[in-house]
């Protein structure tokens, strides 16, 4: 737990109050890495359909513990074990969802639902809100400044053709 705490601190992530145990399984043979990088040292190899406990997610990598050892594995090598259905009505608990609070499970927002199928079929326009929305639009120059402040660098890559 202390180690978890340290990792969270290092990543600048908020601490989780509720450490819900999250599990997943591998969909192929998967290397456990010492760090969240493909060229990091391989500590062990998980077989297909191995069960793992999720500790933390960072981008495309997930920190796990398992019978075969602990370390980092690629997120898309894992699938959720549960669909959440058994967790009941209030059970918007979700694997992989670290959320803003750092706690696992879907955060239920307070407020009005709206946007049901029926709502959409009988919708009437709200021009005032549309006018308000225009005020928040930003210019290209503003967006470029926002990217600079965030240290975002443009990359060149093509779309992947449909397979």
């Amino acid at each position: 737990m202390k180690k978890c705490f340290l990792i969270l601190m290092m990543l600048g992530l908020p601490l989780s109050a509720s450490a819900v145990e999250q599990t997943a399984f591998t969909i192929r043979s998967t290397e456990i890495k010492k760090q969240p990088y493909s060229d990091a040292q391989t500590l062990a190899t998980l077989p297909d359909k191995a069960s793992v406990k999720i500790v933390l997610r960072k981008g495309g990598w997930v920190s796990i513990s398992s019978a075969q050892g602990s370390g980092w594995v690629k997120m898309l090598n894992l699938r959720s074990n549960s669909t959440g259905e058994e967790r009941g009505d209030n059970g918007l608990r979700s694997l992989f969802n670290m959320g803003r609070s750092g706690s696992s499970g879907i955060t239920v927002a307070t407020g009005v639902r709206g946007l049901s199928e029926e709502d959409l079929k009988t919708a009437s326009p709200n021009p005032d809100e549309l006018a308000k929305m225009k005020n928040f639009a930003v210019s290209q120059a503003q967006a470029e400044k926002f990217a600079r402040v965030g240290k975002l660098n443009s990359q060149t890559l093509d779309y992947i053709p449909a397979q």
């Binding site: 600048g12 259905e85 959320g99 407020g111 946007l115 326009p125 929305m133 928040f136 926002f146």
Partner: protein, 282 residues
Amino acid sequence: MYKRTILVTGLVLAFTGTAAAFDFDWQKALKVGGETLQKVQAANKTVDEAQEIELGQGIAANLLGTSPLLDNNRVQLYVNDVGRWLSLHTERPNLPWQFGVLESTDLNAFATPGGTIFVTKGLLMNLSNESELAGVLAHEMVHVLSKHHLAALQKSARMDLAGDLANEALKDRAGPILDKAVKAGTEVYARGLDKSDEFEADRKGIIIATRAGYDPYGLPAVLQMLDAANAQDSSLALMFKTHPAPRARLNLLDKIMADNFDNYRAPVQTDKRFLAALAQVK
């Protein structure tokens, strides 16, 4: 409808030898069928950008009629900053892109023709960082770039509406034909798009987010979250009804991304400002 027109025309041709035995004018039928066909084909080509934007604004006003904007200027501006930056990495950077957070607690996101994108407060609150937000917005933006809703509308609308669109009737702003198109257009959001359009939005969305400097795994992470969520929950009902299963979408991205996206990382500054911008949202 398009297919049916061809079918009817084909049937008429098949009976030309014994036309006298049928009491309808096959020549007239052929002519009408041909004209309708032309109209529909024209509709797919001649809805110009101004009309596309006009239609999209009408639909956006309707969506806002079902849920107002979240009353938080900082969050609205922040989402516009992320979205506008993404738009500069697309093939249509000069559309009047605008982004809005809806007050709704549902988990969903929408795109309307011409560049208006919505994300709900319910979804936003379940995202972890700016790269995930970028992934969601980029997915929606592909629907605009590829005119998916326009195509869905034209496919589903009655012939006269498709014909009206072709007649540039939308230039007559706020006319009854525009109203009709907006209403039919809004209903597309209750039905959803073709699955192939959704997969295309995922496939291209990750590229747009990566081009803009974000973590390519933002969108896959959101899909993992949705895959593990309770599919019976009512706040996910419309999204689950109108999209392919999250697991199918994950499997597709898994296949196309392979090991080719391992070396992209989002700057930590973006994680920090995401948390700061959303701190007041409840």
